[in-house]
């Protein structure tokens, strides 16, 4: 989330699109309702099905699964056509004025594709997506590496070229307009199946938040992301929010409602293959040495500090073994050479390329797409180590349906893990706020904390390799793992926060942090003369375990605070826990003030420029320099940088950005309406149909996302990656969560009270479809897809209705995916039906739209 849960209460319009917070993030409803109470905010829900969130909404609108880009594109178009965008915001804070490469062409010209597509490779050459740049010669002062003296040198830098007006046909804004002009209300009706009037109702309500004294928030989650165009769905959200000036302000933001209770923390800590902690990015085989790796960090944004953060990370992991001389042991870090995301891993496992799997708090036998195939893949393992609270379907995959245990050679170890309540530690919520939780119960039986298990694993690995002289084993031997034999999680927290290995000094030699002390924040890393004096497990969490005031004068590690004061009344609660980065509640909050530093509106002021405030700095004469960003939140901006500060191309880092550049992690400091980098399928979101769709793409000749990786393993076999067609499987199916169950179900289907609430696996369908198929409410039905079939209870409801798409009636059904054969509430596995296909960027599986057929059992 760019904002925080509590901040939802500041919103004037809450658009829930692709999420179901009442069921999956119930606590958020308190803030939604506060917004509705306090200033009459409206709640809009856009979802293929009438959810429990829809039940409480002011406006509910249905759309066909997998068509959010068209819907959001429609909103973007409506905003542009009706000039509802915040023009000043757009001009100053986004890249609207930046000129794009003259060769750039979009789907409007190329029938659904962007310029640079290579059909063979299923990828784009992004050269034509780049900004137009101009070369500038600048003089820079830098230290002479030999003499150590300051010298001035001339340097060529290239800076993005800007248009002077939004009307310039080559500027990003013009491209944006052209691209989205196609997304008319009529198209929305045609593609999404949403009646035009309904769409316009949403547009009218939501796009009104472009007014400076209004803010709108978009709450989204898997309904947007679990598609082959998931990333671009989110991009569309971001573009809309940028246009409406809704980013950086209270009650605004692009708000991903994260999933697992600490999934935000685990993402921050880089549990995904492509990253290192703090979003530093994994080294790949394109980065053979440290220099190559560090070169990927922008030098004209705050990422200029990326190399320093990397250094402190390596010091945290390898301490003395990581030295400046050995490139901080860069060679210890594996370089990725391909895609190691979920589907790819299971395909590799299926192909017998993976011998062992440690599965720690995951239940792929139920949760993975095309789960039958994934369960079969598990049979190809030599060993499987499970750490879980329960004997899950994965732990018992060898006795699942259709499996003969005798034929399974995989050796399965089940290590009982202690539950969250049974161990202390910090968790990070969607709002990036970390909170410390003490252990409140003793672990049962043999259950052990995960860190206890890992500590033994590390100890034994080190033991096993202790006599090795081979270079490849050094990382294991040099890994620093000194949290104690009965590991003390506070030591881990301290390492994540960062601490001084030696006295940390700034350039002038002043000691910033004494040896052994925790650092107060990542600014210390940025300003240390030698970042190698610091070990920091994750720069974003710099300061989270440092002593801080809880608002009552009591000092304690920041993450443990429970201070309840709320200056400004926005629900920021700055003394409660710690929000990365730097305890900041709203990201990019510089944008909450006008370019000149004054708030957009009195009711939306977060930080503003106070020209009379003492900056704490002194000029050459020793007089205090006045002027400072003040307010209720920690400014996401250099605190004394004037609003009218000019970008200085001669400088690196934030010096290269202006006082009106709020998006300081971006190379140009702007919010990207046009994304020149970072996305595989194009700078703008374009609608493509889900891999399996009942509809031919009405928008262009390109049916599916052109960059997705297609799998066809054993497509001709009973278990395999077969793709279904709409003549065989005419019904759209989506999967989702129930309030009463948790994920793959081990944690809720083993709880009698929750099993009681939702005892059986079911499928929801509309009355019309049920009638057509002769299916009775409460009866048994068979649901089949190209991957398999399952038997479930039919729940016939008024909440599901067919769509009119392109003049054709399309039925849709939906299923929870929580069930499996273990536990108290059991049922067939929804994922036995879902396809092995992922998003074009993140590879998140397309769980939300695929084809099935249903019949009476």
């Amino acid at each position: 989330m760019t904002n925080d849960w509590t901040d939802i209460k500041n919103s004037d319009c809450i658009l829930v699109q692709g999420a179901n917070p009442a069921e999956n993030h119930p606590a958020s409803m308190a803030w939604v309702n506060e917004a509705r109470d306090k200033h009459g905010a409206k709640l809009i829900v856009v979802d293929p099905r009438f959810t429990r969130t829809a039940a409480t909404a002011d406006l509910y609108v249905a759309l066909r699964p997998g068509t959010d880009i068209v819907f959001l594109g429609g909103l973007i178009n409506y905003t542009l056509q009706n000039r509802l965008y915040n023009e000043e915001y757009v001009k100053y804070y986004t890249n609207a004025l930046t000129l794009i490469h003259p060769d750039f062409k979009g789907p409007a010209d190329l029938d659904g594709l962007f310029s640079g597509y290579d059909a063979e490779a299923r990828s784009y050459d992004t050269a034509s997506w780049q900004y137009q740049k101009e070369q500038k010669t600048v003089t820079v002062t830098q230290k002479d590496p030999v003499t150590g003296e300051d010298v001035t040198v001339e340097k060529q830098v290239s800076v993005p070229k800007k248009a002077t007006s939004l009307d310039d046909p080559n500027c990003a804004f013009a491209h944006l307009k052209k691209h989205f002009a196609r997304f008319t209300p009529e198209l929305v009706e045609q593609v999404c199946g949403t009646p035009k009037e309904k769409f316009l109702q949403v547009a009218e309500l939501y796009c009104a938040t472009g007014a400076p004294d209004k803010s709108g928030t978009i709450m989204y989650a898997m309904g947007q992301t679990q598609h082959t165009v998931g990333t671009q769905n989110v991009r569309a959200t971001a573009i809309l929010q940028l246009l409406l000036g809704n980013i950086g302000i209270p009650g605004g933001g692009v708000n991903a409602l994260r999933g697992e209770s600490n999934v935000q923390g685990s993402t921050d800590m880089a549990l995904l293959f492509h990253d290192l902690p703090g979003y530093l990015g994994s080294p790949t085989d394109k980065h053979p040495d440290l220099a190559a790796y560090l070169a990927k960090f922008d030098t004209t944004s705050y990422w200029v500090n990326g190399p320093r953060f990397f250094t402190t990370l390596m010091k945290a992991w390898f301490s003395a073994a990581a030295t400046k001389e050995n490139d901080y042991a860069y060679h210890y870090i594996p370089k990725t050479s391909g895609n190691y995301s979920w589907i790819a891993l299971f395909e590799a496992m299926y192909a017998g390329q993976i011998k062992g799997l440690i599965c720690m708090g995951q239940n792929p036998a139920v949760a993975g797409p095309n789960a039958r195939l994934e369960r079969k893949a598990l049979q190809n393992l030599d060993w499987l180590v499970m750490m879980d609270l329960f004997e899950t379907e994965t732990a018992s995959f060898w006795k699942g349906p259709g499996v003969n245990p005798q034929e399974v050679k995989t050796e399965v170890f089940l290590l009982p893990a202690a539950d969250a309540m049974e161990k202390a530690g910090s968790i990070v919520s969607s709002g990036r706020r970390s909170q410390w939780r003490p252990a409140v119960a003793a672990a049962l039986g043999d259950d052990k904390e995960d860190i206890w298990i890992l500590t033994r694993l590390v100890r034994d690995l080190k033991e096993a390799y202790k006599d090795s002289t081979e270079a490849k084993d050094r990382p294991i031997l040099d890994l620093v793992w000194n949290y104690g034999d009965e590991p003390d999680v506070e030591l881990v927290a301290r390492e994540i926060n960062g601490y001084a290995l030696e006295d940390v000094k700034d350039a002038s030699g002043k000691v910033l942090v004494e040896k052994g002390k925790v650092i107060p924040g990542f600014a210390t890393i940025a300003s240390a003369a030698d970042p190698g004096t610091i070990a920091c497990g994750n720069w974003l969490f710099g300061g989270y375990f440092a002593e801080a005031d809880d608002g009552t004068g009591t000092m304690m590690p920041a993450v443990k605070r429970r201070g309840q004061n709320d200056p400004g009344g926005y629900g920021f609660y700055p003394n409660w826990g710690f929000t990365w980065p730097a305890n900041r509640r709203i990201l990019y909050n510089r944008a909450s003030a006008r370019p000149d530093g004054t708030p957009w509106a009195e009711n939306k002021k977060v930080i503003w420029w106070d020209p009379t405030a003492d900056s704490g700095q002194k000029d050459a004469q020793g007089n205090p320099i006045l002027g400072k960003w003040v307010g209720y939140d920690v400014p996401d901006f250099p605190p004394t940088k004037k609003p009218d500060a000019k970008a200085d191309p001669a400088k690196t880092g934030l010096g290269a950005q202006a006082g009106t550049d709020p998006f300081l992690m971006k190379s140009d400091g702007k919010g990207w309406l046009f994304a020149p980098a970072g996305l595989n399928e194009g700078p703008f979101p374009e609608h493509y149909e889900p891999l399996e769709s009942a509809v031919v793409n009405p928008l262009s000749g390109v049916q599916n996302n052109p960059v997705i990786k297609l799998w066809d393993t054993d497509a001709d076999k009973e278990i395999g990656d077969r793709v279904g067609t709409s003549d065989e499987f005419p019904i759209i199916c989506t999967t989702y969560r129930l309030c009463e169950h948790w994920q793959a179900g081990a944690m809720s289907r083993n709880l009698p009270w929750l099993a009681e609430c939702q005892p059986d696996m079911f499928i929801e369908m509309g009355e019309e479809l049920a009638q057509e198929k002769g299916i009775k409410n409460g009866g048994q039905v068979i649901v089949a897809s190209a991957r398999g079939q399952i038997k479930v209870v039919a729940l016939v409801t008024k909440r599901w209705r067919p769509y009119q798409v392109n003049g054709k009636k399309v039925h849709q059904v939906g299923m929870p995916w929580h069930y499996g054969w273990q536990g108290l509430a059991t049922g067939d596995i929804a994922n036995d039906l879902t396809p092995h296909i992922g998003d074009g960027n993140t590879m998140i599986p397309e769980y939300k739209a695929f084809l099935v057929d249903v019949r009476k059992a």
């Binding site: 009442a22 119930p26 409803m29 308190a30 309702n33 009698p752 009270w753 005892p759 409410n777 016939v796």
Partner: protein, 277 residues
């Protein structure tokens, strides 16, 4: 009960309620109630009704609105803690009683298990432990307003759990004011009525709703306490009949006897047979 504010009440706002059932589960958790074995019969709702093991049940109804739209209405189904509880009136041994503070409680040690309270309650709330034999001592069960929590200064478990703020706990008059204000501020959201303000003589549970209350699943009740006629019978008719008959029959007997004696003098057959009664 101690330290409970006078006339405690609870406001259930069906517009805000998202049917998450946190309250339903919290109630079980706090009161240590076992789960029932259930089956999906084509609805999210489960168990099918309140029972001795389920004191609070969220019910789900799909209500088609006049404008063609749909409302998924969620009803809180639990004891209403009536101001003039029919169950209390009905209980022959006074096992059910209304506390001054508001909660209607069950004094299990008195209960004889006649289950008349179950019939009497217009909300079909009291339930019985059908599976307990004589030795386990079956009991009447229902929501007790979490009196144990109230007396410890906490709010009821269901209220504390509700993430949507659909449940509010407090003084009845104040909650009525809150309900009135909500309806007034958002006439488009609510039916203009506070259920429980007057129904059946008033209840400690107050409901406001986006759909007509009958569609929410609330019984249509007048403002008179449900037991009014029954109590009239008990308080007025019964004593009258009792006295009237004793006196009347004695009088009648006397008259008849006199007449027969007269007739006996005139040669009647007498009344010797009396002793053969």
């Amino acid at each position: 009960m101690v330290s409970v504010m006078a006339r405690v009440a609870m406001l259930f706002d069906a517009f805000r309620c998202t049917g998450c059932r946190g309250c339903q589960v919290a109630c079980k958790q706090w009161n240590d109630l076992p789960a029932e074995v259930t089956h999906n019969t084509g609805s999210y709702q489960n168990p099918p009704r309140v029972s001795s093991d389920t004191w609070l049940l969220m019910q789900f109804r799909e209500v088609e609105r006049e404008d063609g739209g749909l409302t998924w209405a969620f009803r809180r189904y639990a004891c209403m803690h009536c101001l003039e509880p029919a169950c209390v009136s009905a209980c022959p041994v006074g096992a059910l009683y209304k506390t001054e503070e508001g909660p209607v409680l069950h004094h299990n040690n008195r209960c004889i298990g006649c289950r008349y309270c179950m019939l009497a309650c217009p909300f079909e709330v009291p339930t019985f432990q059908w599976d307990k034999g004589l030795f386990e001592g079956p009991q009447i069960k229902k929501c007790d307003f979490c009196v144990d929590r109230l007396s410890a200064g906490m709010e009821p478990a269901c209220v504390q759990t509700c993430p949507a703020g659909a449940l509010m706990f407090g003084d009845r008059d104040e909650l009525i004011a809150v309900a009135e204000a909500r309806i007034q501020e958002h006439p488009e959201r609510y039916v203009n009525h506070i259920y429980g303000k007057d129904e059946a003589g008033g209840t400690s549970l107050l409901y406001i709703s986006p759909v007509p209350f009958q569609q929410l699943g609330m019984p249509k009740l007048g403002s008179a306490p449900i037991q009014k006629d029954a109590e009239d019978i008990m308080q007025k008719a019964t004593p009258a009949v009792l006295v009237g008959m004793l006196v009347g029959l004695s009088g009648l007997y006397w008259v008849v006897k006199r007449r027969q004696e007269m007739m006996g003098k005139n040669g009647g057959s007498g009344t010797q047979g009396d002793r053969e009664a």
